[in-house]
C-alpha cells in the first residue's frame, strides 16, 4: 500500500472483514481470461460507450479524476471500486470480481501477475507513452510486454524537523545516527520500505534484488537498531502526528507527506537522500477478463493526459507526464516534477519478498 494513498489505519474489525470478504470471494473461484496483448482501439479519439469497470486506489477514481472523463464519454457507464492493496485486488479478481482496468503498483504487482490477472498493453494505443516517466522501468515491462502505464509516483526520502535539527541532513543514514536515539521513526506498515531504506544505509545499491546473505545482514542491522526508533509509522496521519507531537524529529517519508506537514505549519523539510531515492510507482493496466478494451484505453489515455496528471500533481504526487508541469501551480510544481525522480530507485516486488516479510516480522518481534 502506498503512503499518501492508503486510508487511515483500519478499524479493529477491518482485517476480519477483509479476511472474510477475500476468503468468500476467493472461494467463489473465477474463469481465466486472455493474457495476449490487449489490442489498441482503431480510433483512440472517438468517445467510448458501453460499461467500464475500474478497480483502483481510492484517490485515482475520485470525482475530480473521473468526472471530466465521464463528460468526454457521455454514453459510457463507469463503475468504480476501490482496494487497499494489490494483494486484495488480486484475491478479489481471482475470486470472480469483474473489472476492465486495474491500478497496479510495481512493488505489489506480483500477485496479479502470477495469477495471470492482467494482460500486456499495446503502447501504440497510449498517446503519451513515449513521454511518460518510468515507461522503461523494471517491473513496467514483464517478459517483454508492458503491463501498466505509469501514472504517479511517490519519492521516499527523509523528512526532518528543521527547528529541532540544526545540521544538514543528506542521507537515509542520518536517520540511524545515535544523536537521534528515541527521536527517529521508520515506515512500518509493510516490509518493503524499512528494509529497503536499511539496505541502502548498509551500502547495498540494488536493495530490491538483495541476495539472502545481504538480506540477513540487513535484518541483523535492523535488529541492532530497533531501540533507536521511537516508533514505526503506519499511515500519513500517523507520521504527521509523530512530528506534530514532538515524538520524532526525523523519519523516512515521501515528499507529498512533507508538503502536507508544511501546509499544517510544521517546520519540516523533505530531502532526497544521497543513497538514491526510493519511489513507489503506480499506474493503470488492463485485466485479463476486460470486456471493454476501447474504453479501457480511453481511460488510461485520460489518466496519462496533461490535464489529469495536473490534478494528481496538485494532490501531492509526482506526475509521470512532464507535459502536465505548466498546468500545475507554482507551489505544487517542485513536488510534482518527474525530473526529480531521474535517478530514483523504483520500489519493485523483491524476488525474495517472503524472506523480507520474515525479516520484518523478526525485527518487530525480537526482544
Amino acid at each position: 500500500m502506498k503512503p499518501g494513498r492508503r486510508p487511515a489505519l483500519p478499524g479493529l474489525s477491518a482485517p476480519l472483514v477483509a479476511f472474510v470478504l477475500t476468503v468468500a470471494l476467493a472461494a467463489c473461484g473465477g474463469s481465466s481470461g486472455s493474457t495476449d496483448v490487449a489490442p489498441a482501439p482503431s480510433d483512440p479519439d472517438s468517445p467510448a460507450s458501453g460499461t467500464l469497470r475500474v478497480f483502483a486506489y481510492e484517490d485515482s477514481v475520485t470525482p475530480e479524476m473521473m468526472d471530466p472523463f465521464q463528460e468526454q464519454n457521455p454514453d459510457l457507464e463507469i463503475k468504480t471500486a476501490t482496494f487497499d492493496s494489490n494483494s486484495e485486488a488480486a484475491a478479489k479478481l481471482a475470486g470472480g470480481f469483474e473489472a476492465d482496468v486495474v491500478e497496479i503498483c510495481l512493488d505489489e504487482a506480483e500477485p496479479l501477475l502470477r495469477r495471470n490477472l492482467i494482460r500486456p498493453l499495446d503502447t501504440s494505443g497510449v498517446t503519451d507513452w513515449k513521454n511518460l516517466a518510468f515507461n522503461d522501468s523494471e517491473g513496467v515491462r514483464q517478459d517483454g510486454g508492458v503491463i501498466m502505464v505509469p501514472l504517479s509516483a511517490g519519492p521516499h526520502g527523509v523528512i526532518v524537523n528543521t527547528e529541532a535539527v540544526d545540521r544538514e541532513i543528506t542521507s537515509y543514514a542520518d536517520i540511524f545516527e545515535p544523536e537521534f536515539d528515541g527521536r527517529a521513526a521508520l515506515e512500518g506498515d509493510y516490509a518493503l520500505p524499512p528494509i529497503a531504506v536499511s539496505a541502502l544505509v548498509k551500502g547495498i545499491e540494488d536493495p530490491m534484488n538483495m541476495d539472502e546473505g545481504q538480506l540477513a545482514e540487513v535484518s541483523e542491522f535492523m535488529k541492532e537498531n530497533r531501540d533507536h526508533f521511537r516508533s514505526l509509522w503506519r499511515s500519513d496521519s500517523d507520521l504527521v502526528n509523530l512530528f506534530k507531537s514532538g515524538e520524532v524529529v526525523i523519519s523516512d517519508g515521501n515528499s507529498g507527506q512533507a508538503k502536507r506537514m508544511k501546509e499544517a505549519d510544521l517546520p519540516v523539510e523533505w530531502i532526497a537522500p544521497d543513497e538514491g531515492t526510493l519511489s513507489w510507482v503506480c499506474g493503470f493496466g488492463i485485466t485479463s477478463r476486460a470486456d471493454n478494451l476501447d474504453a479501457a484505453y480511453r481511460l488510461i489515455n485520460w489518466q496519462a493526459s496533461a490535464k489529469a496528471q495536473a490534478i494528481r500533481g496538485s494532490n501531492g504526487y509526482v506526475v509521470t507526464n512532464p507535459a502536465a508541469m505548466p498546468l500545475i501551480s507554482e507551489a505544487d510544481r517542485a513536488t510534482a516534477d518527474p525530473s526529480s525522480l531521474t535517478d530514483a530507485i523504483p520500489e519493485t516486488y523483491p524476488p525474495l519478498y517472503d524472506q523480507w516479510v520474515r525479516a520484518f516480522e523478526t525485527f518487530q518481534a525480537s526482544s
Partner: protein, 299 residues
C-alpha cells in the same frame, strides 16, 4: 374461599397434538438458527476450510497441514505468542484489580449515583477505539499531559520517554479499552448477592479481606468468568493498540494475523493462526468455567 370447579373458565379448543408441540418451538427457533448458521458458523467453516488449504500466488490450492505445522514449529511465532500472553495477562489482571472494586462501589456504595455511573461507564466504551488510543498518546507522550504536569510541579526535569511506545503503554491502553466489559458482568453478579451476607461475615469476625475471599469472590465467580470470556480472549487478537502505541516492541498475535492476511495475502496461514487462537480461547474458556464452578462449589 374455594371456587367450585363448575365456575372456573373453561379452556376452549383442543389440546395441540404432540407433533405440533414439538414443531412450534422449532418454528420459533428456525429464523435465529438460520441467521446464526449463515452469519457465524458459515464464516467459521470457511476459516477452518482455508486453514487446511495450501495456496500460492498462482492460485493453486489443496489440502495440507503445513499451515499449522509451520506456525507451531516456528520459534518466532512462539516468541510472539509469549509476548502476547504476557501483555494480555497483565492487562487482564490490571482490569480485574480496577474492575472488581469499581463494580463493588457501583453495586453497593454508589446509591443514587449508581445508574449515572453505570451509564458513564457504558458511554466511555462508545468512544471510537482510534480516538481513545490517540487520546492516550496525548496523555502519555513526550509532550503529553502527564509529562507536562510532572515537569510543571518539578518532579522531573526531562520528559519520561518510557510512558509511550512500549509494552507498558500497550498494557495501559488495553486495560482501559475493555474495562466496561470487565466491570459490567462482575457488577451484575454482585447485584445478585445479598449484602446481608457481608454483615453476617463481619458478625462472625471476618475482616474485609476474608469476607472478600470467602464470601464475595465465590459468589461473583460466574461474573468474573464472563468478564474473562469477554475481555481476556479478545485481548489476544487486538492489533490496534500494539500498532499505535507499541512502538517497535509491541508486536502481538493480532498483528501477525493482520499482516499475514492484509500484507502478505496469505489467507491460509492467517486462517490457521486464527483457528489456533480460537482453539486456545476455547481451551481457556473451559478452564475458566471449571475454575468458576470450583469457586462456587460445583453442584
Amino acid at each position: 374461599m374455594g371456587v367450585p370447579m363448575a365456575d372456573l373458565p373453561t379452556v376452549t379448543g383442543e389440546r395441540p397434538g404432540r407433533l405440533s408441540r414439538l414443531l412450534r418451538p422449532l418454528a420459533f427457533m428456525s429464523l435465529p438458527t438460520a441467521v446464526l448458521v449463515l452469519l457465524f458458523l458459515a464464516p467459521m467453516g470457511i476459516l477452518v476450510y482455508f486453514s487446511f488449504q495450501f495456496g500460492d500466488l498462482t492460485g493453486s490450492t489443496g489440502f495440507t497441514l503445513t499451515n499449522f505445522t509451520d506456525i507451531l514449529s516456528d520459534p518466532l511465532y512462539r516468541e510472539i505468542a509469549l509476548t502476547t500472553f504476557q501483555i494480555a495477562t497483565i492487562a487482564m489482571i490490571a482490569q480485574l484489580i480496577v474492575g472488581i472494586p469499581l463494580a463493588y462501589v457501583l453495586a453497593y456504595k454508589a446509591g443514587r449515583f449508581e445508574l449515572p455511573l453505570l451509564l458513564a461507564l457504558v458511554l466511555a466504551d462508545e468512544l471510537n477505539p482510534m480516538v481513545r488510543i490517540y487520546a492516550w498518546r496525548m496523555l502519555l507522550g513526550r509532550e503529553g499531559l502527564i509529562n507536562e504536569a510532572l515537569m510543571s510541579i518539578g518532579l522531573i526535569d526531562v520528559p519520561i520517554d518510557a510512558l509511550l511506545f512500549n509494552k507498558f503503554s500497550v498494557i495501559v491502553v488495553l486495560s482501559t479499552s475493555y474495562l466496561t466489559y470487565t466491570v459490567i458482568p462482575i457488577y451484575a453478579s454482585m447485584k445478585a448477592v445479598d449484602a446481608g451476607l457481608f454483615e453476617a461475615a463481619r458478625d462472625m469476625g471476618a475482616g474485609w479481606f476474608t469476607t472478600f475471599r470467602r464470601v464475595l469472590l465465590p459468589l461473583i465467580a460466574p461474573g468474573i468468568f464472563i468478564a474473562l470470556l469477554l475481555v481476556y480472549v479478545p485481548l489476544f487478537t487486538d492489533f490496534a493498540a500494539p500498532t499505535l502505541v507499541g512502538g517497535t516492541t509491541g508486536y502481538m498475535l493480532g498483528n501477525v494475523v493482520s499482516d499475514l492476511v492484509l500484507e502478505n495475502g496469505n489467507l491460509n496461514a492467517g486462517a490457521a493462526m486464527s483457528f489456533l487462537m480460537l482453539l486456545a480461547a476455547g481451551l481457556f474458556s473451559l478452564v475458566a468455567y471449571q475454575l468458576s464452578r470450583i469457586k462456587q462449589g460445583a453442584k
